[in-house]
Structure formats: structure tokens, C-alpha cells
Amino acid sequence: MSVDHFDEAGAAVQAALDAGARYADARVMLRRTETMSARDGAVEDLSSDESAGIGVRALVGSSWGFYAVPDLSDAAARAAGRRAAQIAAASALVPGPAIDLVPAGAGTASWASPCEIDPLSVPLSTKGDLLVAATAAARDAGADLAEGIYQIWDTRKWFASSDGHRIDQHIRECGAGITASAYGDGEIQRRSWPSHRGQYGTRGWELVDELALTDNAARMADEARALLTAPLCPSEETTLILGGEQLALQIHESVGHAIELDRILGWEAAFAGTSWLDLAQLGSLRYGSELMNITIDPTIPGALGSFGYDDEGSPATKRDAVRNGIWVGVLAGRDSAAMAGLDYAGSVRSDGWARLPMVRMTNVGLEPGPHTLDEIIAATDDGVLMDINRSWSIDDRRLNFQFGCEIGWEIKNGKRGRMLRNPTYTGIGPKFWQSMDMLSSETVAWGTPNCGKGQPGQIGHTGHPAAPARFTNVRVGVRG
């Protein structure tokens, strides 16, 4: 990289220290984003955005302060450092317990995500033609509304801290998806490919090329129209088979957020919520069945939650969150880990230079099992198969959930039967996970590009390796 911004980040850190901080860090970030959406064979919106700035975090006594500006001059960086320390000093009016930071492995490093085809270098006409063709194909096949979208993020960041970090990273992310909707009498059915908001990763445009959007467009339209006359998902307690895409969101909502240490410590109590997990039970609590092995792994090449270093300078490291059904790990930051008496961090990120880094999911996924989806279906006498998320809701302790899927199928005597419309299921997290009795090996690292958390709000990018799985005695068919 020809130009770096370590000088500005370092100046901000030094200014915060000079103003009384006992620790400070700063991130300079340059980000370009590009988003295009299409509808019914025509481009609907195209936006290309650029953002650059510096965010400074200062620890004064036991209080944090953060300030950010979109100005990368030396003077602005120093002023931001001083302001962050002043804000931290004001926090001391309502002080908390003493704050320590677990070590983050100080040093100089550089990291870039894998990228074969730079997505911003692909001609707009090529990208537009893809969305136009895919949505036109869905429309031609009978969709009443066909929509498509791609999104690209190209982020360069320079991190410096008073612990000696000097880390730069270049992370390129992109992804795309299409949705076909069919209108019936008072209701709308939709089918999305490959996921309800598309598939995303820390990869180049080759990811989008692999999605085969146009090839799947007509099938989405056909299925959306067929759903209009399909029977309703029955309301009953039954065996539930989830496709990998839906299971990825199940993991995100009922495991990923629950193991965020800031939630467990009560730091999100008023907004995102807390967690049903109690640190006293770390290492002993049964979260799920023996088949349940969840990892926190930001090192997966190309997954959306991957990075080289988190936004506190901790190197990406794979850890267990649940092993053989027992809860053994959390997503942590340097201060929350110290407060909890843990010796690892590595899961703190912000969604831009203007926002405070906080505990976020990286790639939180389910290790593969021994079966295939076909084997799971063949082993099921009576049940429902659901896939592709349509709605999600979970309580503030991450226990009571309800999900809706775009499509379901009846499973009878080991065969996939009739299509079912408006499939939903509900349950309580640990009871649900303990009922998992079959798990496929067909893992995909699904990307979630819209994870909301924090005040002011931040949008996180997370990854969730998941494969189809079977759960017993699940309540399905919840309706209004």
C-alpha cells in the first residue's frame, strides 16, 4: 500500500495520552461501498459511496470516551484524541468498576482478505446486466415482483494503540441475491436465492459469479407462485428439519448473541438485552445435544465474519463456544474479558470509523455432522422441512424465539411431500438445541450483513457455517 495513515492514528493516540488517558487506540478507516438494486428487469438504484475518518478511544481512570471525525489532518487527529479523553473524563461522574485490558499481542502486522476479482473493478454494466437478467428471468417466469441486489464494501484501516499496535488491513466484501414475489388474494409469497437477503463473504466478485442468480430465477418465481395455493403449514408439535440457511440464522440469534460477553455482563441490558447464560456455568452448562459443536472462527477464508485482527488489535483465533453440547466459550473484548476473569478477547469490531468498537460476532458456526440432508429426510417418518428465512424474533435474553421461513415441505415416511406455505416454528433455545438428533455434513458459511447492535446503532457483518439438521418435538405453524 503506497500511503498509510499510521501517523494520524499515532498522533491521535498520543494526544489522548497527553490529555490524561492511560490507554488509547485509534482507527483510520477508508471505505468505499457500492450498491445496486434492480426490479423487474430494470436497474432501480445505484449508489457509490466513500467515507474516511478517524475514531479514537481513550481510557481515563475507569472510564471510556470515544470521538470521531471525518478529517485526517494531523491537527484534527490530535484534537480528536484530546476530545476522546475529555469525554472519558466526563464519564467519571457516574463511574464503574476498575477496568483492565487482557493482552492483545502488540506488534506490527498487515492483512488482506482473499480476493480473485476486485468487485469494484468489475464494470458497472456487467454488474447491472446480471441483476437485470436475473430479475427479468424471474418476471418472465411469472413473478409479480422480481427484485435483485448486490452490495460491495472495500475497507482499508490503520490501527494504532498505546500498547504499540500498528496494524493495517484491507478487507473486501461483497454478495448478491434475488427475490421473486407472487401476489395472491390478500397475501404475498416470496422465494429468494440463494438466501433471504443474498449470500455475502469476504471475497471478490467470484463469490457473486458462483451464485448463479439467473439460472435460479425462474425456479424462484415458480415456487413463489406455487406457494400461493400450497396448504398451510400445520399447527402441531412435530419433527423439524431445517435447511442450512435457516439454521445459520438460528445459530446467529440463539447462540451467537447469547455468547456475547457484553450482554452476559449486562452492558446491553437496556437495548439489545442480556443473555440467559451465567458465567458461573461456563464449562458445565448443557447448551445442546452431543452433536452441537459451535466454534468462533474469524480465520475461515472468505466467510463474512473473517479478519486478520479485530478492532482492538487481537489476532484472529479459532475458539470453541460449545463442545459436545457444553457451553465453553464466549465472544469477548479486552475489557470485558478482564472483567469476567477470562484470558482471551478477539471479537471486538465497529462498523466504521465513527463508531465505538464493541463485542460482535465473527464467524459463529456449527461444525458439520455425519449425515446428508437426504439421509435425514429418509430417516424421518413424519415432520416438516423448512428453509430460507422470512422472519425472526427472539426475546432479550435470547431464549424464546420464533422464526418464519419462505418455504416448507411435508415429510412423510422418509419422503419429501407437498409444499407448505407460511411455515413457522417456535421454541426455547437450550430445549431446542438439545433436541437436535441428526446433522448434515453439507456446510455452507452463510453471511449475515445486517446484524444490528449498539447505541448509536451499528450494522455488523457476521458469518455462520451451518448445515441441515433435525430437531424433535418442535412447535410449528404459529399463526396470527
Partner: protein, 462 residues
């Protein structure tokens, strides 16, 4: 900290001129230069644990050139940054497919009188926010507390090649917090244009009163219940109605329940979008914002439009364009549900679970639930606006007009328009309360509501 709006006017004007110069006289361009300064002091476990502020100026450009459209933005506002923005957007427009839905630019249109803003709030210090947090914590009387105090300031200017120009400023203050007693949470939240209106002690006392009134919670079976929704819960109804029902794009695409002129709500329901004073007085297309009556005495009168959805629906923009409105639709962000007739003024109680806006309604409920807040609401079916979510921050059983027991949180699955439909609203509180959203500039104002039926589909057991 507030800055002169002349800086944004200059930026917008320079960007329009640069676009004209580089793209040619035939280009249609619109520019918004917006400065925002948001500061948020956040507390948990009764201590300030996150305390942040940022000040950002962003220039947005939308360009229509030779029948093709593209938009872009930048926070790099020096000459090089603006040049890059314009060149990038021109290149994007030239490579884009044709845009047959381009609605044209807003012609020169006068803005409504300036609603003004509170400069003191715009310049509020971290010490002033921390003092309100201290007051909230102290008023909770030893209960664990969490929440935030926020101040925000925005100034912005609009210019386009059709000659429309506009500028304005706004400020906002908000506080939202909970108190916790043995696992039970109580909440209080307020929004205002002035930080002076935010009384941390009063909010802390109210949150604590609710938490203390929770006590041991019983579990009730799923089923349909009569309910009183406190203003904090009603705000969620307004948010979802705005996003999915009164959304002009959803309406134009037949994905909304809205039917203009139809009696879709109880006649006690009147809803308007009232953006003036809460946000900038113009939208991203330069259309002046004004009060928009959405529902009048239960009759759906309007939906929110930007120029694109308005053209599709063969009507006029209502001033709801945003950077994302062509994709996600124009969404009203300052809904106000009109309160019921004023009875005797009731001061906010210092004890007990019931907010003042809900007390008369609770007194008239034979058997039902008093619900404080709704949480994690998601749409199951957009057309009928069937929503699932959970209760939060306090639920109580009411029998013969009296609160008789705390109830554990429950899941509901409910069509919002149906819950507010003709004959379904048994009472509207006399006091409308202004409440903040998670995003600054978004505000909901609502009284409590007494509804005949609310579909509870799950309890703490699943």
C-alpha cells in the same frame, strides 16, 4: 457542536456547479450537504460504560444523465473529495442501464416557516448528559440501571440544477433507561427538541416504580387478551405501520394494507407524520417536509412518498425521500397518534406499574393485560401486517380495573391494522408522549391504547 449552515449551503452549491461543469448543461443533479453531530452517553450496571460523540459532514449527489441515474456520497469534503464524488457518479451514470422511472427534479418550492431549533441542546456537553445519567441512577434508589442520554444536532442544505435550494437545522435530546429489580425491568423514555426537557430523575423514578411493581411473575396461557398498551408499546405499532403500511413504494407495489379513503382503523384513530422541528425541513430530493395526515378518524388518507413512488402512484411527493428510499421505500419517521379527549390531568405516578397515559384505560378494563413495551417485532406477512414479537419491561394482569399480578414476558403474533380496526379500539389515552427511536431524528409520539384483542401465541415456557 453547532456550525453555521452556510458551510453546508456552500458545499451543496459548489457540488452542483462542479457537476454542471463536468457533466454538461443537460445533467440533472441534486445535492444534499448534511452535517450531523451526535453524542450519546450510555450506562449499564448503574455506571457510564460507553460515551461517544462524532461530528460528520456528508455530501450526497444524485445525477440523471442521458436517461441514466446514479448516486454517491462522500465524507471527504475538500476539493479533491468533491471532484472524486462527481467524477465517480458521472462514470456510474454513464455505465448504468437506462432509468425509465426517473421522476425528475424538485422544482423551486418554498419551505414552510423555520420551526427553529435549540442551540443549547445542539451544543450540549458530555457533562450535561452525564448529569442526567447520574440523576436517573440516583432516582432509581439503588436498583440496577441501564440506558442512554443522547443529544444530536443536524444542519443541512439542498441544491439542484432545477433551481431548488433549501437549508435548515434541527436538534434533539433523548433519554431511555431501565431499572432492574430481581430480574424485572421497568422502563421510561422521552424525546424532545430540548435537553432542558429531559429530567433524568423523573425518568429514573418512573422506571424504578415499574420495576418494583413487577414482583413474582405468573405465567398465563396463550390466547386472545384485551390489552392496554402503554405509549412505549404503541410506538412500535407506529413504527411498523410507517415502515410497511404507509410506505409509498409498498403501496404502489400492492404490498401494503393501505387503501386510501377506506375506514381501515377505528374512528378513534388519527395518525399524522409531524417532521417539522424533529428533523431537517426538506428531504433528500429537496421536497419540503410538512405535516402529513395519514389516518383521520380511522380513514386512511395518505401514504408517504418520494418522487419515484409518487410518480408510480400518480400523485405528489410528500417529502419522504431518503438515500435508501428508491430501494426500501419512503418511510415516515415522526408519527404521532392523536390522544383521546382530555380528562383530568394525571401526574406521572411515583409508584405502581401504570404510566399516567394508561391509568384511565386500565381502570376501564375488566380482565386483560397491561403491556409496557414490545420487542424484536418482525413482520410475518406484509400485506396484512401480521407481526410477531415479545413483551418487555413489564406486563401485568388487570382484573376489574386493578392490577392484580405481574406476568412473565409473552410472545404475540398479531395483525397490527386488525388490532386497530373499526370497533377494536376501546380507548385512547389522553396524554401523548414523545419517545425516541434507536436512530436520532426518528421520533414517535403516542398515548396509551386500550385494545379489544391481542393474540398471545407463547409464554415463557415456549
Amino acid at each position: 457542536m453547532s456550525t453555521p449552515v452556510t458551510a453546508e449551503l456552500d458545499l451543496a452549491g459548489r457540488t452542483v456547479e462542479l457537476t454542471r461543469r463536468l457533466a454538461g448543461a443537460g445533467a440533472e443533479a441534486e445535492v444534499v450537504a448534511a452535517h450531523s453531530a451526535e453524542a450519546l452517553t450510555r450506562f449499564a450496571n448503574s455506571a457510564i460504560h460507553q460515551n461517544v460523540a462524532d461530528a460528520t459532514t456528508t455530501v450526497h449527489l444524485r445525477l440523471h444523465l442521458d436517461g441514466r441515474t446514479a448516486s454517491g456520497s462522500t465524507t471527504v469534503t475538500d476539493a479533491g473529495g468533491l471532484q472524486s464524488l462527481v467524477e465517480r457518479t458521472i462514470a456510474a451514470a454513464r455505465l448504468s442501464p437506462p432509468d425509465p422511472a426517473w421522476p425528475g427534479l424538485t422544482p423551486p418550492t418554498p419551505l414552510p416557516p423555520d420551526a427553529g431549533y435549540d442551540d443549547t441542546t445542539a451544543a450540549a456537553s458530555p457533562q450535561e448528559r452525564a448529569a442526567r445519567v447520574r440523576d436517573f441512577v440516583q432516582a432509581a434508589g439503588g436498583l440496577e440501571t441501564a440506558g442512554f442520554c443522547r443529544t444530536a444536532y443536524a444542519s443541512g442544505a439542498f441544491a439542484n440544477t432545477a433551481g431548488q435550494s433549501a437549508h435548515g437545522r434541527s436538534a434533539e435530546a433523548a433519554m431511555d433507561g431501565i431499572a432492574r429489580d430481581a430480574g424485572a425491568d421497568g422502563v421510561a423514555r422521552r424525546a424532545s427538541g430540548s435537553l432542558a426537557d429531559i429530567d433524568g430523575a423523573a425518568l429514573g423514578a418512573r422506571a424504578a416504580a415499574k420495576a418494583r411493581a413487577a414482583g413474582p411473575a405468573i405465567e398465563l396461557p396463550p390466547g386472545r387478551y384485551e390489552v392496554v398498551l402503554e405509549p412505549t408499546a404503541v410506538a412500535d405499532l407506529l413504527s411498523n405501520l410507517a415502515m410497511f403500511g404507509f410506505n409509498g413504494k409498498a403501496y404502489a407495489q400492492h404490498q401494503s394494507f393501505a387503501e386510501l379513503g377506506a375506514q381501515q382503523f377505528d374512528q378513534s384513530i388519527t395518525i399524522a407524520d409531524e417532521p417539522l422541528g424533529a428533523t431537517l425541513p426538506f428531504d433528500m430530493e429537496g421536497t419540503p417536509r410538512t405535516t402529513l395526515l395519514l389516518v383521520e378518524d380511522g380513514v386512511t388518507r395518505a401514504v408517504s412518498h418520494d418522487r419515484t413512488s409518487a410518480a408510480e402512484a400518480q400523485t405528489s411527493s410528500t417529502g419522504h425521500a431518503s438515500p435508501a428510499s428508491r430501494s426500501w421505500g419512503p418511510i415516515a419517521a415522526n408519527l404521532r397518534l392523536a390522544p383521546g379527549p382530555l380528562t383530568n390531568a394525571v401526574p406521572e405516578p411515583s409508584t405502581g406499574p401504570t404510566a399516567s397515559s394508561a391509568r384511565a384505560l386500565v381502570a376501564g378494563m375488566r380482565r386483560g393485560l397491561l403491556i409496557t413495551d414490545l420487542w424484536y417485532t418482525r413482520v410475518l406477512d406484509q400485506k396484512s401486517l401480521v407481526v410477531t414479537g415479545l413483551t418487555r419491561n413489564g406486563v401485568w394482569l388487570v382484573e376489574n380495573g386493578e392490577v392484580t399480578a405481574a406476568v412473565s414476558n409473552m410472545r404475540f403474533t398479531q395483525s397490527y391494522p386488525q388490532a386497530l380496526g373499526p370497533g377494536a379500539v376501546l380507548g385512547v389515552g389522553a396524554e401523548a408522549v414523545a419517545m425516541p427511536d434507536r436512530w436520532s431524528g426518528v421520533r414517535y409520539t403516542a398515548p396509551a391504547l386500550h385494545l379489544a384483542s391481542w393474540n398471545i401465541t407463547g409464554n415463557a415456557s415456549g
